[in-house]
Symmetry: C2
Subunit: 166 residues, 2 copies
DNA sequence: ATCCATTGCTTCGAATCCGAAGCACAGAGA
DNA sequence: TCTCTGTGCTTCGGATTCGAAGCAATGGAT
């Protein structure tokens, strides 16, 4: 019904829908595993993982928020929870009094290692099982390109109607 | 740091991260466009789109929920909102008194057509601009396969421990 | 030195979301 | 017929989420 749009071709539509659907389903399953294995939400896991991966084991709040694609206020909330549980610490940055440096604690790393195997198991079961190494490689390549493009594109995407000084 | 996990190889990790990141960023941008163009959340748009695409223009609640990967209670909530705005109607199914049949209204279709061009514009700008037709095709193919696999996999993935009467 | 636009983060209120519990109907089986 | 289990949806309570507004510190510019 209704094909009178400046529509996408079926291939594009298919790719788009599949992308959304896969990420939604994957997220759900992962979320469940994380909840059971370490009582973590997906965002919390992402935060800990990022901190754990960082050489210094710490990041600024804003960088974390941008990294996981999350609102700043949302991050503040989650950081509070993680701090209460002793999985991270928050200290004002020495250089810049405004900024807060978030670091992962030993307990935080412990939770991470406790949760990791199951996490990977879910990914293998759900995501990688049906893909060949070549598929995975090309997926990473293509999506990586898209990500870079999105990251570099000016935040405001939607309405670039031409506009002079006016 | 910490590579002592039953880890994924870097290629897999890259694909996974890119997938999550792309879908998050895309979702954000789309959400924004939909909000501005038609005061719709992403879920609401998905629901309307699904109904609009359906030959009969209607679906059961449960099928909608499964389709868009959403909780049933969440769907009830969103359906209320859409019904209040006159974009859908809910009527008990004739065959099965338990089931609710959701249909899109004319007003609903109008909103859809009002919102569509911008939606597609965002997709083109953000998602397709950096991809060749071949990329899109492969993406759709690979992700489609993953989706089918996920859909066919028993809902409970992680812990299918055997369980008798106890 | 003083302003002031910017940046980093938090607080606030309202909207959204989910799972558990509840209600009503359906479809067996005895 | 009369259960009993399962299905479909909603209600409820609590947790999570976001954007707007607020506060504090920064880094120029005057």
């Amino acid at each position: 019904m209704a094909k009178a749009h400046p529509s996408l071709d079926p291939t594009e539509l298919g790719a788009y829908f599949a992308l959304i659907e896969v990420s939604s389903l994957l997220r759900h399953s992962v979320e469940q595993q994380l909840r059971e294995a370490g009582d973590l939400s997906y965002v919390q896991f992402q935060l800990l993982a990022r901190l754990g991966d960082s050489p210094a084991g710490s990041h600024r709040m804003t960088d974390l928020a941008d990294g996981v694609v999350y609102s700043r206020s949302g991050l503040t909330y989650q950081a509070q929870l993680l701090e209460q549980r002793g999985l991270i610490t928050r200290t004002p940055s020495p250089n810049d009094e405004r900024s807060t440096s978030v670091s992962i604690t030993e307990a935080g790393r412990d939770v991470l290692t406790r949760v990791f195997p199951g996490h990977i198991a879910v990914l293998n079961e759900l995501l990688f099982e049906s893909l060949s190494p070549a598929d995975v490689s090309m997926l990473g390549d293509v999506l990586g390109r898209v990500r870079d493009h999105m990251r570099s594109t000016p935040p405001r995407s939607a309405a670039p109607r031409r506009r002079k000084t006016e």
